[in-house]
Amino acid sequence: MSWTLRILYALLTLFIVMNVGLLLNGVTRKIYARVNRRVGIRFYQPYIDLVKNYSLTNLVTHGVMFYLGPIFRLTSGVGLILFIPLIYGSQGFSNFSFSGDAVLILYFLFFGTLGMALGSGESGQPHSAIGVARGLAQVTAAEIPLVLSFLSVFIQYQSLSITEIVGAQQSGILQWTFFTNPLAGVTALLAFLGSMMRSPFDVVLAPQEIPIGPPTEYHGAFLGVLQTNRAIFPVAKTILYVNLFFGGAASWPALIPKAFLLYMWSVVVGTVFPRYRVDQSIRWFLKVPLALGLLSIVCIHFC
């Protein structure tokens, strides 16, 4: 496949994923409002917000790292989506997944976190730093079940290649990892909650306490970039889970509902449960999800 075609496919992927992400955002908030018996935002409100933020005229910057922080973040989101083979069997929508396997994606998740943390750090805003400290602490805890469940899947399939893992799940719904390795699946779902920055794990952003944490000082186009990433990144993450646990997808129409449902899982939990403090959430991850994850590895190891 020629490089031009690859880049075109990449742009197309990005376009689709971004729209999916924005719509997901909008629909999610709509659902959230309906649960609260409100009318809620218009489902296309995220688009307007995005345009509005890009259209603000002046920017304030604290330095190079502050300037580049959001770009790091977006690079991470874009890179993530391009490193994941989105559509099983489609060479074009596998994008750059030949560069590396699932491990690459696992670690590339942190690229943006780091960049964002550094960028908000340079602003000198103590609330950002507090938010980042909370976020990192919570993410490291949430990673524990995540790593366990992924490891369990890798062991199950004896492969790190997402394409291979997806390929092994193609023969039917019951071949999905979620059903062949339910413990890992449940663990992954719990870990998924921790990484979506939704209640009960959203104390990182605590708007009234530490004015929304890490991005406190970000505004205008910076915020626009972050919002763009916020559209892409969770979708990419969700697709990763879909690929590993829910049989992947052979086409966009198969992928998007799966991603949507999985996304909804965090939304539903977030709507129902109140917020944890950071130390509470760390302890929570070290209880049930950790036990489940270890159990799943033990099962895979000895069964």
């Binding site: 890179g79 490193f83 550094l118 805003q125 205008g220």
Partner: protein
């Protein structure tokens, strides 16, 4: 020519001088002159004989008094041991005489006469071959000793002198009875005749031999019947104690050695047991001691105990016994005299009072030489002696494993108190240093002793087999650098770099084919050059730095070059010395330097023990290959070696020295201590694991334990790092974690595991190098390592920030930099080798690393710039150059990870034949997955660049603002310190999982220390200070030993 120096002149010179002195007792100068002449004469005689023996031309000289041959007359024998011992005794006698010039002149000619007689008596004890004559000279020595005490007129001397008198009187009673019975049974008093006779045949004979042995043992002050002797050390003037400890002990020891053959060695086990108990007990008691003299007394007795062990195991040690005993004795005599001399100059008797030595650096150096020599560090004779001793004890047909372990344990305790004391002298914070009476005339004695010790070291090292003289060349270079220590730092730096470079040029062709060696040689020596390069930063002399740094690098180089395990051990110990002195250069480094050294010594003893088992298995062969397939207790041997090397990699359990030691080290030392030095441990582990293999059944458990140690080190190291306030300590804990990965990788004993380990070894060197230089440079620049005192430095130090950023991205394993490849291989390893549980913890540890990495870069470089840092400049260019050199390597490796991993993989295929990673260009494929470093780099950089360009194209009005232009609830921040979130950064994390970072291990070691100290305090209660009690001890000791020994006959 030797005939000119008839040994009888010892006695003649002594008596004549004593006689003359009484004549000239009112001519102060003249009498002292006479004394010195006489002492010099004795010295000359012994030296002449020694020289001829060393040259190989000497013959054993027998002198017969009264013209008869023995057994009809008393005869003196001057053989090699006598020559050596009389040389020591005379030397110490002369030196002490010179040292005591003032006191001796003051007390007058009588005291000088007594002194001469004392020295003469000691020499004669060594020379004589007649039992009764031996008794006479023993009496002369003890009378002369107390005589001098008597003349010194101080109250404590008089009081203890009396006890000493009565005690030695009692002992002489025992001896006398023994001699008489021996004579009754054999009809002769000549030792040689007695040895050939059947003195043991009769019942009385055996008792006689026992009594004689017992008497000499008692004279050597065995535990616990030695209160009278220790008081003497405490109360006598230091120089006299030096003579008693070095001369009297040597003489008595040799006397015992002479009489043991009389009993056909029937009491060797008694001697060994007494020695062993005395050695251990004295060391333990000394642990709690705070009086320097008394401590030296215990230490002397302990050393004698060790020598007694050597004597008792003559049979097992065979022809090496004399070498071992001589090595130990020389070291003991010379270094103890040095210490006693110094103790005289220090006015304050307490250990802490020795901080006064800082007034005179040369004394500090001497103290250090003595301390290191006593513990048995290279290049001193005791190093080789101890090596031989342990090897032979474990290597004989029946291994004395427990005994050798006890010897090492005792030595370790000795190291504890000696180096605690030494670190007081070096580093104890003191408001005003105590007085120090050190006129230059007083320096002659200790300096000479040290020089003689150095000469002896050189000579002894030539006698050792399996030790190449080429290892002395770096030592010579170091001495050269030490000599020019007065030059400014940069010139020494140039010389050092030149030296190291020359060495690299010399080494390279020899190791060019061996990648494993090249990797570590590269880390050690390139690291050395980079370290030294950053040393250009320092102005002034930087006294003492270069010899010590070079010592460390010489040690590291020796590890690489070692062809025998002795050479390896030599390098290991040399490195420990050098690094100790480097680490202790920090301000508050005293306790940490000490714990570092103690763990080093503990580790190296563990290694030594393992090596000795290896050598035992190989039938005494000490080539490096003897480590392969150890046949004597292989599991223990390998475990001990691994344990020893783990102390250097600071793995959990034995890590407690590292955070403090590294946390207090200054910038470039921190770099070499962590990025380079720790790799020595890795090198050792690799050496051992290569030799051990993984076939044997026991290896499974060892490797399992090793793996978990590595894993826990990684986890706990990283968690603890997140809780540190000091950036240096943070990095130190991070090193523990990183080394944990390496240990884990090695423990997997697989292709991928070793690939990780070696890859980490290299990359850890790279990124930790950058971090240490940057953080160290900053800490140096702003005078504190505490992160909450930093902040916002990106504005002042953009270059450092960039380097640190790259380093932490690499460390955290985030793509696209080279750190990711290690993470990727880790996953492959976990799955392919089924290391699920260890692997899971390792992965978690890797993620936790983000915590401390972000904390470090944020609190140091980001956030609010403090007022007092507003004008601070970039860190020194000499730090940035090595930093950026390392940075370039990181970037190259990131683009092309295969340049590093592929050759290592090929090399590892020779060890672990499986083909683990197949490389096509920059793309590596395993059976599980794939990754393409270059492609990742292209994609990520591409996205990043495109996004940046797009963002710039948005062309907004962008206003650059300053640090307080933040949203602060509509108010203005009042001070930068108050809006820099830094202290207790991960408070919530601590709340949740802080229990994992509790200092349990530290608590464990503290408890161990406490218990040993409590034991020490308990044992030493027997020394009540009541002379009568001490006499009772002697009597009881005689009775008990007599009953035990004679009970043994039935």
């Amino acid at each position: 020519m030797v005939a000119m120096f008839n040994p009888i002149y010892f006695v003649v010179a002594g008596l004549a001088a004593a006689f003359l002195l009484t004549l000239f007792h009112n001519r102060e100068r003249l009498s002292y002159f006479i004394m010195i002449i006489a002492l010099s004469l004795m010295m000359l005689i012994s030296l002449a004989h020694l020289a001829s023996f060393l040259a190989g031309t000497g013959e054993i000289v027998q002198v017969f008094t009264a013209g008869f041959a023995p057994p009809f007359s008393i005869n003196f024998q001057m053989g090699p041991p006598e020559a050596l011992l009389t040389a020591i005794v005379s030397l110490v006698g002369l030196l002490s005489g010179i040292y005591l010039s003032e006191q001796l002149r003051k007390t007058g000619a009588y005291a000088q006469a007594v002194y001469i007689v004392l020295v003469m008596g000691m020499n004669a004890m060594i020379l004589t071959r007649d039992l009764f004559n031996l008794f006479v000279f023993l009496e002369i020595v003890s009378i002369a000793t107390v005589g001098i005490l008597f003349l010194s007129r101080s109250r404590t001397s008089v009081n203890t002198g009396f006890t000493y008198m009565v005690a030695s009187g009692l002992i002489s009673v025992v001896l006398l009875i023994g001699i008489v019975f021996a004579y009754m049974n054999a009809g002769s008093l000549n030792i040689d005749t007695l040895s050939e006779s059947l003195v043991m045949a009769g019942r009385g004979g055996s008792i006689a031999v026992l009594l004689i042995t017992l008497a000499f043992l008692l004279e050597l002050k065995p535990f616990p019947a030695n209160g009278w002797g220790i008081d003497l050390y405490t109360s006598a003037p230091g120089a006299l104690s030096a003579l008693i400890s070095a001369g009297g002990m040597s003489a008595t020891y040799y006397a015992l050695a002479k009489v043991l053959p009389v009993g056909q060695w029937s009491h060797d086990s008694l001697v060994a047991a007494v020695g062993g108990i005395t050695f251990i007990a004295s060391q333990i008691i000394a642990l709690k001691q705070d009086d320097s003299r008394r401590l030296l007394g215990y230490s002397s007795i302990g050393q004698i105990g060790l020598l007694l062990v050597v004597l008792g195991f003559s049979e097992a040690l065979g022809d090496r016994r004399d070498f071992i005993a001589a090595g130990l004795l020389i070291t003991h005599a010379l270094s103890k005299s040095i210490l006693f001399y110094i103790s005289d100059m220090v006015q304050d008797d307490s250990l802490r009072g020795w901080a006064a030595l800082r007034r005179k650096p040369v004394l500090l150096v001497l103290f250090g030489v003595a301390a290191f020599a006593l513990i048995g560090f290279p290049p001193f004779p005791s190093f080789f002696a101890k090596w031989d001793l342990i090897l032979l004890l474990n290597g004989g047909t029946e291994g004395y494993y427990l005994l050798s372990a006890m010897v090492l344990a005792g030595s370790l305790i000795e190291a504890v108190y000696l180096f605690r004391w030494f670190s007081y002298a070096l580093k104890l914070p003191h408001e005003d240093l105590p007085e120090l009476a050190s006129p230059t005339s007083r320096l002659i004695a200790p300096v000479t002793a040290a020089l003689v010790l150095a000469g002896a070291s050189w000579y002894v090292s030539t006698l050792v087999s399996g030790f190449s003289q080429s290892f002395l060349i770096p030592v010579a270079f170091i001495l050269l650098v030490a000599v020019i220590d007065r030059l400014p730092a940069w010139s020494k730096n140039v010389i050092s770099i030149a030296g190291v470079s020359l060495y690299i040029a010399d080494l390279y062709p020899r190791i060019a084919g061996d990648l494993m060696t090249m990797i570590f040689a590269g880390i050690f020596l390139v690291g050395a050059v980079l370290t030294l390069l950053s040393g250009f930063y320092y102005k002034g002399r930087r006294a003492g730095f270069y010899p010590m740094a070079l010592t460390m690098f010489a040690g590291l180089a020796a590890l690489i070059e070692a062809a025998t395990i002795l050479e390896f051990f030599w390098g290991w110990e040399l490195m420990a010395i050098g690094s100790y002195f480097l680490l202790i250069r920090g301000k508050k480094s005293m306790p940490h330097g000490l714990s570092y050294l103690l763990f080093s010594i503990g580790g190296s003893y563990s290694i030594l023990y393992g090596f000795s088992l290896a050598a035992a298995g190989a039938g005494g062969v000490i080539a490096m290959s003897s480590l392969v397939g150890i046949s004597v207790m292989p599991a223990l041997a390998y475990s001990l070696m691994l344990l020893g090397f783990l102390t250097k990699t600071a793995s959990i359990g034995v890590h407690i020295w590292l955070p403090g030691a590294h946390g207090e080290a200054v910038a470039d030392i921190h770099f070499m201590a962590s990025a380079i030095l720790l790799k020595a441990g890795v090198f050792g582990l690799i050496t051992v694991l290569l030799a051990m293999g993984s076939e044997a059944g026991y290896t499974r458990w060892i490797l399992l334990a090793l793996g978990w140690i590595g894993v826990l080190s990684a986890l706990l190291g990283n968690i603890s790092a997140a809780f540190q306030e000091s950036a240096k300590r943070l990095l130190a804990w991070s090193s523990i974690g990183q080394l944990g990965y390496i240990v884990w990788g090695l423990a997997s004993m697989s292709h991928l595991g070793w690939l990780i380990a070696l890859g980490y070894s290299v990359t850890h060197f790279l990124y930790k190098g950058i971090l240490f230089l940057a953080i160290g440079g900053i800490a140096l620049k702003i005078g504190t390592p505490y992160m909450y005192k930093m902040g916002g430095l990106i504005k002042r130090m953009p270059y450092s920030f960039f380097a640190v950023l790259i380093a932490i991205i690499t460390l955290s394993g985030v793509p696209p930099l080279v750190g990711f490849s290690a993470k990727w291989i880790t996953y492959n390893l976990i799955i392919s080798e089924q290391l699920y549980y260890q692997g899971f913890v390792i992965l978690i540890a890797g993620i936790i690393a983000f915590l401390y990495l972000f904390r470090m870069i944020y609190t140091v470089f980001l956030g609010q710039l403090k007022d007092n840092l507003r004008s601070v400049g970039e860190i020194s260019i000499w730090f940035r150059i090595p930093m950026y050199l390392l940075l370039i390597v990181i970037l190259v490796l990131s683009f092309l990870p295969n340049t590093l991993l592929r050759p290592i993989g090929d090399m590892l295929s020779g060890i672990f034949p499986e083909e683990a990673i197949v490389w096509t260009g920059s793309r590596g494929v395993t059976s599980l997955g794939y990754f393409d470093g270059a492609m990742i780099m292209y994609v990520i950089v591409g996205i990043f660049v495109i996004l940046t360009i797009l963002f710039l194209l948005l062309r907004k009005q962008t206003q650059k603002v300053k640090q307080f232009n933040i949203f602060y609830s509509g108010e203005a921040p009042s001070r930068p310190e108050l809006s820099h979130f830094s202290y207790n950064f991960f408070a919530h994390y601590r709340k949740a999982v802080g229990a994992l970072a509790l200092p349990l291990v530290t608590g464990f070691w503290d408890r161990v220390t406490e218990i040993i100290h409590a034991v020490s305090d308990f044992i030493r209660r027997i020394y009540t200070g009541n002379g009568q009690t001490y006499l009772f001890h002697i009597v009881l000791y005689v009775v008990v030993v007599f009953l035990v020994q004679s009970g043994g006959y039935r």
